[in-house]
Symmetry: C2
Subunit: 433 residues, 2 copies
C-alpha cells in the first residue's frame, strides 16, 4: 500500500513517521515543495534575533535521515499542483505523477498579505520559511535598516518586534483590530502594549494598512517592513480535488483527521480541529497541534485507529522576557459563543518575596450558569507556562471553578507562594459567580 | 455565637479569618501556645540558610492585625490543656476556661523523636518553630560547627542538608528507610542521592539511629545534629475529649472537616484528609493543605457549607537548585494500594537547546486495567513545579493517560519544547499499557 504525504514540515513528517511505526511495509512518500524539511518554524524569530546562530540548528531531520532510518522517501522541491482522487494520484509541477492509496494533506498555511499593496518590495518580509528568515538576516546585516514597521500584533508580529528591537531598530507595530495576540481581550492587549512600550516599541491598534510605501507605512517612516497579518490555510489544492473546506477556512476533518474523501486525511495548519470549550471546528495553526494532528492522521492512514479530540486554544508568547499565556476563551470570546462569562483578574507573586517572586497576573473566566471554567490568561516573567498549562488541563477536564479552587498544587518557597496565584484567582471567581 | 480555634498558625488562622468573613458577628478567639502566630513554617530552612535575613520576614500577620482588622481575638502563650466538650469549654494551662459553641482544632504536628536517645542535647535541633530556627542560627554563628548529621531524608531533612551545606558544613543525611522524600520510589531516591553527592552531601539510607552521642551519630562524627525524622500529629488533646483519631494517626474528619463530635472541626497537620487517588484518609501535613482545610473548617464552623474534597499528594522540594516534584502514587505505592501500575520514565528538555533547556526527567504512572493516571514525578532545574501541577490537575480530574497525551499545553521556544516532556512520557506510557 502507498501513502503519499503532501508537505514535509511538522504535520507531514509526524504523519509519515507515525505511519511507518504502525505499518513497517507501507510505501511512504513525502512531497515537499521547498528545499528544506522538518524545521522548527517557531524558532525563526530567534534566528532573526541572532540567538539561534545557524538556520540548520532549527532543522530537526534531513531527507537522508528519513530515507535511511525510517525508510520514508522524502522529495524536496516537489510541488504538487493537483490531486486526482478518482485516479488516486497527485501531479507534480514537473508533470510527474505519484500514486497513492492513502493521502495526507499537510500543506500548511501561508502569510496573509491582507490585500496590502506594495507587499512584494525588497524591504518587505514575511516570516514563514527558513529562506524568509535568512533573507531577513542578510538584509539586517547588509542594509542596516534603522526603523521597522511590523504589520500585525499576533504572535509572530510581537516576536518580530522583540527580535528587531534587540537588533537595535526602532519598531512600530500596526494592528488592524483593537487587540493584540489574536484574542478579543482588552486587558491582555493593554499589558502587551505596556511591555512593548517599556522596551521602546510602539503599538498602534485599529490601523488599517492599505499600502506599503518604499519609505513608510501609513504615516510611519521606515526602511524595513515585516508583514505578520496572520495566516491563510493552504486549502486550494485540496478544495480543487473535492475536499471540503470548513467555515473556519481550513479543511474539514473528522476526529480521525479524515476529510470528506475516504482515505484522504488532513493535518497541521491547513486542517480544522475541534475547540474543546466551544465544541466547534476552528483553524488554530500552531506547531504543537500540527505535530499531534499529523501523528493521528498518519496512524489512521496506516490502518491504525486513533483520534484527535481537539484543542483548548493554548498559546504563549514571550515579549522582552515577559510571558503572555492564554487558553480557552476570553470574556468577549465567551460572550460571542453565548456563554455568560464572569471573570476574575488578580495579581499575585510567582514565588515568595524572599525568593525574588515576580508579579504574576492571572485571569480566569467561568460560565455563570454552569460554573464551568472557560478560559484564562497568565502574564508574568516566571512560571506563566506552567500555570497556563494547569488551566488548559482543567479545560480539557471540563472542570468547574469550585474544583479548580481545590487543586492540590505544589508548594515550596523556591517554587511558589503558599496560595498560588491560580488559586487566588479561582477563589475570587467562585465568590463572584 | 462563640468560635474557639486551638492553634494559631496556618490552619487555625485561615479558619478564623474565613469564619469572620462568613459571620461578621461571630465571637472568635484563637488560642496559640507559642509566642508567635501566623508564620510560614515552610520558610524556616531558608531562614537557617541565611536567605531570609530576619525571622519576622516569615511572619504574615500579628495578633494586633487580627484584633484590629479582623475583629478576631488572638491570644499567644495560651496553651490548652483540655477540652470539655459536654461543657463546651477549653481549659488553659493557667486554669482559665474559654467557652465555645463551635471549636476548630488546629494543633498541628510535632517533630517525631523516633525513640532516639540523646535527642535533648544542646547540639541537637528540630526545625518546627521560629524559635527552633533562631536557636539553630545562633548555634551556627556562635559555635561554628563543622560537621552536621541530619536524621531523616524527608523534605525538611534534605532542605536542612542544603541549608547547612551552604553554610559551609560537611553534612551527612541518615535515613531509616530505603527511600528519600517519604515516597516509596527508588528512582527518585537515586536522583536525590546524586544531587546531594554532587554538592558534597552524603546520603545513607537504611540506617537506624538509636542514639545521638555528644560527638557522633551512628559512626558519623559531628558537632551538630538536626532531627528531621518526620512529624506526629498532635491529637492527644482531641482524643482525650472524645474526638476520633483515624488509622493514619491524625484526626478523622468528614469532607466538611468536622470530627465525630458535632460542632468540633479539625484542620491542618493534625487532621486527616482524603487522598483522591486512593479514596482513603491520609495524614499529609503540608502548608497548602493546612490553609485549605482551615478555610473549609472555618467556613462550616461559622454556618457556611463548604467541603474539602481532598489532596492528590503533591509535593516539591528544591535541593541545590534542582526541583524534585511528585504527585499521586509511585509504582510501589500504587501496587500497595492494589492497582496494577505501569510506569514510563523519560528524559526531555525543559526548553529547546538554543534557550538553554535543562534536562527534565518525567515519570508517569497509570493503572493497566483502567488506563487511569495514578501519579508522576518531575525532576529538573526548570519548570518542574508547573509540570507537576499539570499532573496533579489531571489526577483531580481522574484523567486517563490517553486524554493526558492529547493535552493542549503551551508551546513557544522560550518556554517549552514542541513536545513537552510530559507528553513524551504520556505517549511512552500509552504504548506500554
Amino acid at each position: 500500500m502507498a501513502l503519499v504525504v503532501v508537505g514535509g514540515v511538522a504535520a507531514g513528517l509526524s504523519a509519515a513517521a507515525r505511519a511507518r511505526r504502525i505499518d513497517p511495509r507501507l510505501e511512504i512518500t513525502v512531497l515537499e515543495q521547498g528545499p528544506v524539511i522538518s524545521y522548527g518554524a517557531c524558532g525563526l524569530p530567534y534566528f532573526v534575533e541572532g540567538r539561534v546562530r545557524e538556520a540548520r540548528e532549527l532543522v530537526v531531520h534531513t531527507p537522508e535521515y528519513f530515507r535511511k532510518d525510517r525508510n520514508i522517501e522524502v522529495r524536496t522541491g516537489a510541488r504538487v499542483v493537483s490531486i486526482s482522487h478518482p485516479r488516486r494520484e497527485v501531479v507534480l509541477a514537473d508533470g510527474r505523477r505519484v500514486r497513492y492509496e492513502r493521502l495526507v494533506i499537510s500543506t500548511g498555511a501561508r502569510p496573509d498579505s491582507a490585500g496590502i499593496a506594495g507587499a512584494d518590495q525588497p524591504h518587505v518580509f514575511r516570516l514563514h520559511t527558513i529562506e524568509d528568515a535568512e533573507r531577513m538576516r542578510a538584509f539586517l546585516r547588509e542594509r542596516r535598516p534603522r526603523r521597522a514597521v511590523v504589520i500585525g500584533a499576533g504572535y509572530i508580529g510581537v516576536e518580530m518586534a522583540d527580535a528587531l528591537r534587540r537588533n537595535g531598530l526602532r519598531v512600530t507595530v500596526l494592528e488592524r483590530g483593537p487587540n493584540a495576540l489574536l484574542r478579543d481581550d482588552g486587558e491582555t492587549t493593554l499589558a502587551v502594549r505596556r511591555q512593548l512600550e517599556r522596551h521602546g516599541v510602539e503599538l498602534r491598534t485599529e490601523v488599517e494598512v492599505r499600502a506599503i510605501e518604499p519609505d513608510r507605512v501609513a504615516d510611519v517612516p521606515c526602511d524595513m517592513v515585516v508583514l505578520a497579518a496572520g495566516f491563510k490555510p493552504n486549502t486550494e489544492l485540496a478544495a480543487e480535488a473535492g475536499v471540503e473546506v470548513g467555515r473556519s477556512g481550513a479543511i474539514r476533518t473528522s476526529d480521525r483527521m479524515e476529510t470528506n474523501l475516504h482515505g484522504v486525511y488532513a493535518a497541521g495548519d491547513c486542517a480544522e480541529v475541534t475547540h474543546l470549550v466551544t465544541g466547534r471546528p476552528v483553524s488554530f495553526p500552531l506547531g504543537t497541534t500540527a505535530n499531534k494532528t499529523g501523528r493521528v492522521a498518519g496512524a489512521n492512514a496506516a490502518g491504525g485507529r486513533e483520534r484527535f479530540p481537539g484543542v483548548v486554544g493554548t498559546s504563549i508568547v514571550g515579549i522582552f522576557g515577559m510571558a503572555f499565556a492564554t487558553t480557552g476563551l476570553s470574556v468577549e470570546q465567551a460572550r460571542a459563543e453565548s456563554f455568560s462569562p464572569v471573570a476574575a483578574r488578580i495579581e499575585g507573586l510567582s514565588k515568595p518575596r524572599y525568593f525574588e517572586g515576580r508579579k504574576t497576573t492571572v485571569e480566569l473566566v467561568a460560565d455563570r450558569n454552569t460554573r464551568r471554567l472557560l478560559g484564562g490568561s497568565v502574564i508574568g516573567e516566571e512560571g506563566a507556562a506552567g500555570r497556563i498549562n494547569v488551566v488548559a488541563t482543567a479545560l480539557h477536564a471540563r472542570m468547574c471553578v469550585d474544583d479548580f479552587e481545590q487543586l492540590d498544587l505544589s508548594y515550596s518557597p523556591p517554587f511558589a507562594p503558599v496560595w498560588d496565584p491560580l488559586l487566588i484567582a479561582a477563589r475570587q471567581l467562585a465568590k463572584m459567580l
